[in-house]
Symmetry: D2
Subunit: 404 residues, 4 copies
C-alpha cells in the first residue's frame, strides 16, 4: 500500500480485497488452470463471482447511482493493482477489460434503452462484451485510417468491415463497433461507435487469433471478425455521430490507468515470487539463491522500478481525477510506455531467477512473460507514446521560446 | 555467408541447404503448424527427411567413417545457422538436439554393441533419443549435486532417481542417464552416463512439462521422468565409470556452438522478417514503417549485434577445432551468454516492429519469443557463464601479478 | 513543482528561489566560469550570498532556533532541486555539502563551545568546513576498516592517519575527522568524530586530487591529507566516544536526500537544455532537431525517468520526516542508485542531442557529465546499495516464510 | 592478438610495438602528465619519437614508395589498437589524427609541389597539420550545408568562413580547408579541399575550445577559427574542384577503421586496468574485489563486447582492403556506433570498479571517460550512422521485394 494515495475507504477495502485474492484466487494457479483454455475454469470463476457479491465487493468501480462506491480513478487504481496479482482477479470482480471500458462509456453516452438492455446485465456480470476497433489492414499508430463503414439505410446502419484483436468477442453478447459514418468529415470526425449484438446476421466470427501459440477462448481470446451487411438500428449509436475517436480518446485516459495498475500488480506479484524463490532455493549447504549478488541486483532494481512506476501512475490518476484526461495526455503516454517496460523487465528477471522452473507453467511467470509482451504494443506502441509525449513537451518549449 | 570462415565445400553446400530450407521448409510455417503439437506435422517432416536424403544432404555432420563429410565444427556451425532459420530445419536434417549430442558422444565412447543397436538407427533417423541429467531438486548451477543413483547389482546397474527437462523423451527409444555410481569419489568423479532403453521396466513417464503454456509432444517436448529400480546391463555404460561429468563437459563445447549458431539463425531470420515488414507496411500514403527512425534504430543495432555474435561464435568453433574445447572454456562461456541475449533482443525488436501481428502465430516470431527465452537458462544460465568467464580471466591476471 | 508534496510555505518560497537562481545565477554560466577554478569566481558568489541575505532567503534549511524556517526534509528537498539547477546554487545559499551535513551534525551533537566557535560562523557563511572520513588504503564498501587513530594523551587526542576525498578541505576552517578511538570495541563502535581546526600543527595538506583532469581549488576540490601527531582537546569530540559510525549513519539519511534532489535538479536542467536545443537547432530548411524520433525518444524517456525519480525521493524524504532514517534504510539505498543512474543517463542524452557543442564548456552539460560521474560511487557505490536493499527485502521474505 | 587476421609481418611487428608501448610509454602515465597540457610533455614525446625511428618502427603506415611497409588497413588496424593503449602511442608513432588522414589524402591527391613542401615534412614528423571542416552554425548530420566559401580571384582562392573543432590547429603548419567553390553545383559537388598554410594573413585563431573543462593546447586541442579574406594560390587545391565531399568520404572509410581500432585499444587497456585492480584490491581479509559477482559481471560482459567489436572492425578493414570503402559503407557505419558505445561502456565499468580512484587522474580512466565521450558524436553521431546503415539494408530488402 502506497500511503501517499490512501483514502479512508481504501484502508478498509484494500485489506479485504487482498485477503480475498490471496485466499480464493491464488489457489487456482495450478499448472492445469494455467495451461487449459479459459472456458475450462470459467465455472469455478463464476462461483468466485458469487462470493465477491456475498462479500459485498461487487461493482466497486461503478458510480454510486449504479450501486458502486463512486471511487476516484486513483482509488480504483490501487484496487486494480491487487486484483492484477492473480490472473483471475479482474474477471472475478467483473472489472476486466474490455467490459470495464464499455461500462464506463455506456454509462456516460449510451441512450437509456441500451443501458437497460445491455449495460445493466453487463454490470451484473450476466453478459460480456467487446470493443471492435483495430483492423489488420491499417497501422494502429494512425487510428484515423479505418476501412469499416456504417452507411445509413432507412432507420438502420449497415456495417461492413474487417476487424481483429477484438478481445473477448468469443461469447460476448455485443460489440461496440468503430465504423466510419461520415467519410467526408475531418479525419478525426469520421467514425462513430455503434452497439452491435453479436447475434446480428452478418457478424462473422472468423477465428480466435493464436497469440503466442494459444488461440484461447471465451473471455481470454482475441477474435478476428468480419461484418458483412450487418444491419442495426441507428438508435444503437453511442454518443453523437462522428464522435467515435473523441469517445475512444476519453476511454483511453482511464483505460491506461487500468492497464498500468494491472502491470504494476503483475510486477509486484512477480517480485514476490522472485523473492520467495530466492530465500528458499538452496545452492549448496550454506548458500541460497538470494545470496548471489546477481540475484540481489535483480531484486534491488526491480523494487526501485516498481515503486517508481506506481508513484507515477497514481499521480497521473490523481491528475485525471482533478483535471480530466485531456489536460494530462502527455503524462498518460508517459506512464504507458514506462510501466509496460518496467513490468516486462521484472517478469523477465523473475523468470531468470527461477531458472528452468521459470519457463514452466508450474509457476505464473511464463504466462505473463508471453501474454503481457503485448503491453508494449496495444493501446499505443511504446514508440507512438514516446513521440506523443515528446511532441507535447517540445510544443511547450517552442511556446516559451516565442515569449522570451 | 561470412566469407572469413568459408571453405571450398561450404561454398557448394551452403547455397544448396539454403535453397532447400527456403523452398521446402518456409512454406510449412503456417499458423496451423505453428500452433499444433509437433506430432501433427511430424508425418510431413518425415517426408522432408526423405527429400534431404535424396538430395544427398543427410548426415552431413557425421564423421567420414559414418558416412558424413567430417566437417569441422566451424563448418557445421555455418550450416547449423541456415537450418535454424526454420523451426523445422534441424529436425529435417537429423541434426536436432539432443540427438546430435548423443550421436557425437556415442560415436566416441559407446561400446560397439550399443553403436550397433542404437547409434546406427539414430544416425539413420529411425529412432530418437534423449539425455536425462537435470533434476528438479537441485540447482543447475552446481551439476555435481545429483540425487539419481546407479547401484551395481550382479551384472546390472539399478537406477533410481527423478529427472526433468529430459527433452524429447516423449517417443524416444533410449535415454542416456546421468547417475551417481561412485558416491565416495571426488564430486566431479561420482557420476556416470548409462544408456537406458525407454521401455525398460521402472522408467516412468510423468508428464511433458508445460513450457510457456505448451506441453508439446514427441520431439518438441520436455519430460519429467522417474526411474524406479530400473535395471540395465552394466555394459550399457558409456565411457568409463565416474567419467559422467567429464563426458558432459566434452559434450558441452560443441553443444554450445550448436546452440549459439542456432540462436544466430533465429536472429537472422527474425531480422529478415523485421526488414521485410518494415519495407512493406504502409503508415500513410507516402510513409512506410521503415521510414521511422525508431525502426531504423532496431534494424541497425540488430545488424551489428548479429554480425558481431556470429564472428565470435565461429572464431570459438575454430579454436575448438584447433585446440579442443578444454583450452577455450572461457570463450565458450562467453559466446553462450552473449549470443543468447543478442538473439532475444533481436526477436523482441522484430515483434515490436510487427505490432499486434508480432504477438500472433501468423508469423514465426512469437514462437521464438516464448520458447527461446530458455536460451538464457539452459546449458548454464547467463550468470553462471559470466562468473565462469570472469574467474578464468582473473586467474590469468593473478598469475601475471605473481610473475611481475 | 510536484504538487503532491507542496506545502503552503513552499508555494511562496519555491517561485522566489527559482527566480533568484534563474536571474542571478544562470548568467554566471559562462565558458570562462565553467573552466576557471572556483576561487576565480568566488568573489562574485560572495556578492550573490549577500543578495540572498537581503532577499531573506538565507539559512532556510536551519532549525527555527538558529534563525531558519524549520523546514521538513521533504520541503527542503524541493528547494534543493531548484538550487541544483545552477552549479553555484547551493554554495550561494550556503546549503552546500559538506557544510550542510556538518551543520546538521553539530547542531545536534556538538558541545556549546564548539557551536559558538565554529557552528555559528559556519551558518553565517563566514567559514567553511570539511568532513574527513575516506582513506585511500581501505575500500569504501566496508567503512569499519579504518587506519586513522586518535589516542588520548593528557586532555588531548593525538590523531594520526591518511585521508583522501576530504572534499572542500582547501580553505576550510576545520575538519570533522573520523578516527578510531576504541580499537578494542565492536567494529561499529570503534570510531569517533573529532573537530580539528585546519591550522592545527600536523595537519598536512598533500594535494587537491585531480578529478577528471581538474584539481580544482577552494570549495570545489577534494583533498588528500595527512594527520601527523595532530593534538586537539578531547573537548573537540562531537557526540559520544565510539559513536562515529552511528553519527555518520545518521548524517547519511538526510545527506542522501540532499544528494538525490541535487541529482534531480541537474537532470531537470539538462532536460531543459536538451529541449531548448531541440526546438532551436535547425537540421534543414523545414526540420529541427526535435523532429527526429531519436531525439524524441531521448526526451520522452528522460521526462518519465526524472518524474519517477523525484516522486521516489520525495516519498522517502517524507518517510524520514515521519519515521526517521533508520526505519527506511532500504528505501534510502534505493533512491541513491536509482537517482544517480537516472541523472547520468539524462545528462548523457542531453550531450548527445547537443552534438559537438555538448562536449564543450560553452554549455553546462560537460561539467556535469564528468564531475557527476562520481554520483554512482561516493556515499555508497551502486553495487553496495543494491546489496543493502536486497538484503533488507530478503530478510522480510525469510521472516514471512517462517511465520507461514 | 586476434590470430584470425594475423599476417607474417604482424607476428614480428606487434610484439615489438607492444614492448615499446609498455616499456617506453606506460611509465609516462603519471598524474602530472595526465593533467598538464600537452605542450608540457611534448619534449619528452619528441624524444620518444626519435627512439621509434631508431627502433625502425617509424612510418609503418606509409606506402612503400614513401618508406613505409605498405601495410593493409587490416594490418595497420591491429597496430593501431596497440598504440591506442597509451594516450601517447599514436602521437609518438606519428600516426595520430588528423595527420594520418591528411597524409593518406595528400599522398593520393596532392600535386607534387604540395607533397614536397608539406607532405614530406609531415611524414617525417617535423610539422603538424589540421583538417578544417565542421562549422558551428550547421548540423554535422548534413555535411552539405556549409557556409565557408572559396572564391577565385586572379590565380588565387579567397576564403571566408567560420570553423570549429578543427582539431590540432594550435601549432599546425597548415590546414586542409573544406570550402564551397561551386555554389551552383549539385549539393555534393559544391565544395573543394584547399591547403592553407596557417600563417596566411586572415587565418584567425579564435580559441582552443574548452572540451570537458580543458582547452588543451598543441596537438591535443580543438580550435575555433575564422578565415577572413584568406588568399591562397589555386594550385593549393587538393584533388579536383568540387570533389571535396567525395574526398572526405574516401578519407572516412579508413579513418573510421583508425578510430574504431583506437576505441578498441582504449577498451582493452581499460579492461586490463579493471582486472588488475580487481585482483589486487582487498575488501576484507579473505575477499578481493574480483570475488564480487557484480565485478565479475562487468568483466565478463566487457570481454565479450571487446572481442566482438574487434572482430567486426577487422572484418570491415579486410573488406575495405578487398573491395574499397564505397562497397561497404553500411558496414563502416555499423562499426562506428557499435565500437564507440562498447568502448564507453567498458571505460565506465572500469571506473566503477576502481571506485573513487577511478574518478581521479591517478589512473588513466577518467581521461578517457571524459574525452572519449566524443566518440559517439564526431565523424557521424550514433543516430546518423544507425539511419545510414538501416537505409542501406532496407534498400536491399526493397529491391528483393521487387524481384520476387
Amino acid at each position: 500500500m502506497e500511503t501517499l494515495f490512501l483514502t479512508d475507504r481504501l484502508q478498509t477495502l484494500l485489506p479485504a480485497i487482498k485477503a480475498f485474492v490471496e485466499q480464493e484466487l491464488y489457489p487456482l494457479e495450478t499448472t492445469d488452470n494455467l495451461t487449459h483454455n479459459f472456458s475450462a475454469i470459467e465455472p469455478v470463476l463464476q462461483q468466485k463471482r458469487q462470493r465477491v457479491k456475498h462479500a459485498g465487493l461487487w461493482g466497486l468501480h461503478l458510480p454510486e447511482e449504479d450501486g458502486g462506491l463512486g471511487l476516484t480513478l486513483c482509488e480504483f487504481g490501487q484496487i486494480s493493482e491487487i486484483l492484477a496479482k492473480s490472473p483471475f482477479g479482474h474477471f472475478v470482480f467483473n472489472t476486466q477489460a474490455p467490459d470495464i471500458g464499455n461500462t464506463e462509456l455506456m454509462h456516460k453516452y449510451a441512450p437509456a434503452h441500451l443501458k437497460e438492455a445491455y449495460l445493466h446485465p453487463l454490470m451484473d456480470g450476466q453478459i460480456r462484451s467487446c470493443f471492435s476497433m483495430t483492423e489488420p489492414e491499417f497501422a494502429g499508430s494512425n487510428p484515423t485510417m479505418m476501412g469499416t463503414t456504417a452507411v445509413k439505410d432507412g432507420d438502420a446502419y449497415v456495417i461492413n468491415g474487417h476487424k481483429w484483436f477484438t478481445s473477448s468477442a468469443d461469447g460476448a453478447a455485443f460489440a461496440i463497433v468503430m465504423a466510419v459514418t461520415n467519410p467526408e468529415a475531418a479525419p478525426h470526425k469520421r467514425a462513430s461507435q455503434i452497439l452491435v449484438p453479436m447475434d446480428t446476421p452478418g457478424v462473422q466470427f472468423i477465428r480466435n487469433i493464436p497469440v503466442m501459440g494459444h488461440a484461447g477462448d471465451s473471455w481470454a481470446s482475441h477474435a478476428e471478425l468480419r461484418y458483412e451487411n450487418v444491419r442495426v438500428p441507428q438508435a444503437n449509436l453511442i454518443g453523437p455521430e462522428g464522435a467515435g475517436f473523441l469517445l475512444a480518446q476519453e476511454r483511453l485516459g482511464p483505460g491506461r490507468i487500468h492497464h498500468c495498475m494491472r502491470f504494476i500488480g503483475i510486477a509486484e506479484r512477480s517480485f514476490e515470487l522472485m523473492c520467495q524463490y530466492a530465500v528458499s532455493r538452496r545452492l549448496s549447504d550454506d548458500k541460497f539463491l538470494g545470496d548471489m549478488q546477481f540475484i540481489q541486483g535483480f531484486i534491488a532494481e526491480s523494487r526501485a522500478e516498481i515503486d517508481a512506476a506506481r508513484l507515477l501512475v497514481l499521480r497521473t490518476a490523481k491528475h485525471i481525477d482533478e483535471q480530466g484526461a485531456a489536460a494530462v495526455r502527455g503524462e498518460i503516454s508517459m506512464i504507458k510506455f514506462f510501466t509496460a517496460n518496467m513490468m516486462l523487465r521484472v517478469v523477465d528477471r523473475a523468470i531468470q531467477t527461477h531458472g528452468a522452473l521459470g519457463m514452466t507453467s508450474d509457476v505464473l511467470l511464463a504466462f505473463w512473460y508471453s501474454h503481457e509482451r503485448a503491453a508494449r504494443i496495444y493501446d499505443g506502441a511504446d514508440e507512438v507514446h514516446k513521440m506523443a509525449l515528446a511532441k507535447t513537451i517540445l510544443k511547450q518549449f517552442r511556446a516559451s521560446d516565442l515569449k522570451s
